[in-house]
């Protein structure tokens, strides 16, 4: 089918183009709102700046296609093959991208707000500055896995309020990203880069952040119970009012971090670097601080009841008004 023939048919009211072979068809700038391309072969097509809202591309092959600036809002893009596709600056808001393969695709600056990305494969995808507000990528109990974002580049992406529970973000780059109010429960962020990321009010309980880099990240009031931050870098991070009960922070680097009123009850802080950290009124009940480095740390008013601190380095630490492991209060 030629592009002209397709456009003519569409203009005459025909919208069903399902199951067709439209390989390399040139439809840039076309208005095809509401059309049905499900199951079609659209490999290497050109749909730059096309109007495609409310279209149906279910199970379509769009591998290597050029889709820059196209408007796919509310489109059904589930189970599509978008591998190596160029979706730069696309409007994909409220689209259904469930179980689509977007690995190594370019989604730079795309609008994915409210999109359904459950089970989508996005490993190695370029998602810089994308808007993913309220997007759903969570892992479902009934066979639908969370989105696969391993090694994806999400620098400066806006994920405010997105659901990323159980998502695989291993080695992903989230530097400078907005993760405010995001849900990352049980997500795998091993070796992820989160430098300067904003995680205020984020829900991250049971997340795995082994060797993640969170230097300068804002984690104010974040819920991080049982989170695994072993060997993670949290230098200059802000964890004020955050909850990290039962968290694993062994060998993590929290030097110069701000952790006033943080809850670290029963947390594991073996060999953790807490040099010059601000732990004012922090709760460290039954925390393990074996060989932790607390030199220069400010622990005024902290609660250390039954905490293990006997082997910690404490030169220059300020414990004024702190409740010590034996229950006594430091002058």
């Amino acid at each position: 089918m030629t592009p002209e023939h397709l456009i003519t048919q569409y203009k005459s009211g025909h919208v069903d183009f399902s199951g067709l072979d439209l390989y390399r068809i040139q439809l840039q700038g076309s208005d095809l709102i509401g059309a049905n391309f499900s199951g079609s072969n659209l490999q290497c097509v050109n749909l730059v700046l096309a109007f495609l809202s409310r279209t149906n591309f279910h199970q379509a092959n769009l591998k290597g296609s050029l889709l820059r600036g196209a408007n796919f809002s509310q489109a059904d893009l589930s189970n599509c093959d978008f591998r190596d596709a160029d979706l730069m600056g696309c409007n994909l808001s409220r689209s259904d991208l469930r179980c689509s393969d977007l690995s190594l695709s370019t989604l730079l600056d795309a609008n994915l707000s409210g999109a359904d990305l459950r089970g989508a494969i996005l490993n190695g995808a370029d998602l810089r500055s994308t808007c993913l507000r309220s997007a759903n990528m969570r892992e479902e109990g009934r066979g639908l896995p969370g989105a696969d974002l391993r090694g994806a580049n999400l620098q400066y992406a806006d994920l405010k309020g997105a659901n990323l529970s159980g998502v695989n973000l291993q080695r992903a780059n989230l530097a400078g990203a907005n993760l405010t109010e995001v849900s990352l429960k049980g997500a795998n962020l091993t070796q992820a880069i989160l430098t300067g990321a904003k995680l205020t009010h984020a829900f991250m309980s049971d997340a795995i952040l082994i060797e993640a880099n969170l230097a300068g990240a804002i984690l104010q009031d974040a819920k991080m119970n049982r989170v695994d931050l072993t060997r993670a870098i949290l230098t200059d991070a802000v964890l004020t009012d955050a909850t990290l009960n039962g968290a694993k922070l062994n060998q993590a680097n929290l030097q110069n971090s701000k952790m006033a009123r943080v809850r670290l009850n029963k947390a594991e802080l073996g060999r953790t670097n807490l040099k010059d950290a601000l732990l004012l009124e922090a709760n460290l009940i039954e925390a393990y601080l074996g060989r932790a480095d607390l030199r220069g740390a400010d622990l005024r008013g902290a609660n250390l009841i039954r905490a293990e601190i006997s082997s910690a380095l404490m030169a220059g630490a300020n414990f004024a008004g702190a409740t010590l492991p034996d229950g006594s209060i430091q002058d």
Binding site: G29, L49, R68, G69, N71, M88, G89, C90, N91, S93, T106, L108, D109, A110, N111, S113, R128, S129, C131, R133, G151, Q155, Y156, D158, K160, R171, N173, A175, G176, N178, T180, Q191, I193, T195, G196, K198, E211, N213, A215, G216, I218, Q220, R231, I233, T235, D236, V238, T240, Q251, N253, N256, K258, A260, L278, L280, R291, S311, L313, M314, A315
Partner: protein
């Protein structure tokens, strides 16, 4: 001195804890941990003991150093007793003071005969074996010291941390130089993420080479009026080159470097800057809200075209097809545009001028309207509060909002 070491070594070799004594002596004198050793003989103990006694003619300093080293071990309680055994033998040989004081609070100024540089290397090197991923760490350190990427484990293990510390110090005159050197090495590796963590650890641990007084670390509590040793190493002084060359024969080490491919995970922007934090530009949270507001109506690609021309002043053709479209992402561009163009009316005129030079001029109008509306709203809200919010304890490190700069 040798006679004294010989007598002490004989005594220690006969002790039932001789193996642990030898391990600890090797650790404190050479910075390496001996794993498999069953029964060290007198000569072995003599060798490491004499090295240690040569380094420390001041016994108070020696005692402090040994206990500090013990505290870096995974079994400090057990080895504290071993340290006492060693010290007791040394002190009894000298007819000196009670050596069982295990917790020093004041350190005497070091004897001028002590080589501060050697002691510093040993102190730093003593900590490095405790860091996980020893093999990778050593590979990285060797590369920083000699630009050799060694994969032979036996050869790597043969190089002591003391030697590596010395070589790194010789090669990098300043801490900054070392940091840059390691960054360069990591950027060329196929696993930059893993190695960047280790590089930072190495940088942190070697910081003392460039600024920290030598015995600052060992002392747990030092009264403010206590005499502080002044042993800051000279940045310009070098060790005898023949001395370091004799430590390891680097000619035998393979010169092939294993830098398999260029970095594909961490761009240079991810590297740490001078302050140890990421170089990523700090973007105010409000910029994300502004972006979201614009995106409700604007086409993201057309928005990008306009911003690229507005901020970078590039040709329209380049904005649509050029590399900059991929290289730069929207959020930092938007933040710059907002900082530079605070008056929506003037901004509107500029954007319409830009649109006239672009194909499909009319298609940009919706996007321009969306930009102007969002900028107007945001400017109004920020003009109400012109001072940065300050919250207790935390905001000082977040940085002042770019809107208020």
């Amino acid at each position: 001195m040798q006679d004294a070491a010989s007598t002490i070594a004989r005594q220690l070799a006969q002790d039932e804890q001789a193996t642990r004594i030898y391990k600890l002596l090797t650790y404190v004198s050479e910075g390496t941990w001996v794993g498999d050793i069953s029964s060290p003989n007198e000569a072995m103990i003599y060798r490491v003991l004499s090295q240690l006694l040569e380094q420390f003619t001041d016994l108070t300093l020696l005692r402090s150093y040994i206990h500090t080293s013990v505290n870096t071990l995974s079994k400090p309680a057990e080895y504290s007793q071993i340290a006492d055994l060693i010290l007791e033998a040394i002190f009894s040989d000298r007819g000196g003071e009670d050596p069982t004081t295990t917790f020093l609070r004041v350190v005497s100024p070091p004897n001028p005969q002590v080589n501060p540089q050697t002691t510093l290397y040993s102190t730093i090197a003593a900590k490095l074996p405790q860091i996980p991923n020893q093999i990778r760490l050593k590979k990285l350190a060797l590369c920083a010291a000699r630009s050799i990427w060694e994969v032979d484990l036996a050869r790597l293990e043969a190089i002591s941390w003391v030697d590596l510390t010395k070589m790194i110090h010789q090669r990098h005159a300043t801490h900054q130089e070392l940091k840059k050197g390691l960054q360069q090495v990591v950027s060329q590796l196929s696993k930059p993420v893993e190695y960047s963590v280790l590089a930072e650890t190495l940088i942190d641990n070697l910081q003392a080479l460039y600024q920290v007084p030598i015995v600052q670390v060992p002392i747990v509590e030092v009264p403010t009026n206590a005499a502080q040793p002044n042993l800051t190493p000279s940045l310009t002084s070098n060790l005898n080159s023949s001395e370091t060359e004799s430590l390891v024969n680097f000619d035998e080490i393979r010169q092939d470097t294993h830098f398999p491919k260029p970095p594909d995970v961490i761009p240079p922007s991810q590297w740490s800057d001078d302050t140890g934090t990421s170089r990523v530009e700090t973007i105010d949270s409000e910029m994300f809200d502004l972006h979201f507001d614009i995106m409700k109506l604007a086409n993201p690609l057309r928005l990008k075209h306009l911003l690229l021309i507005l901020v970078n002043g590039i040709e329209p053709k380049d904005a649509i097809e050029g590399m900059t479209l991929r290289q730069q992402s929207m959020i930092p561009l938007l933040a710059t545009a907002f900082r530079l163009h605070r008056k929506p009316e003037i901004l509107g005129i500029k954007l319409r001028e830009i649109a006239r030079k672009l194909p499909d001029t009319d298609e940009y109008e919706t996007t321009i309207e969306a930009i102007m509306r969002a900028f107007k709203m945001r400017s109004a809200s920020t003009s109400v509060s012109t001072t940065p919010k300050r919250m207790p304890f935390d905001e000082s490190t977040i940085g002042i909002s770019s809107l208020n700069r």
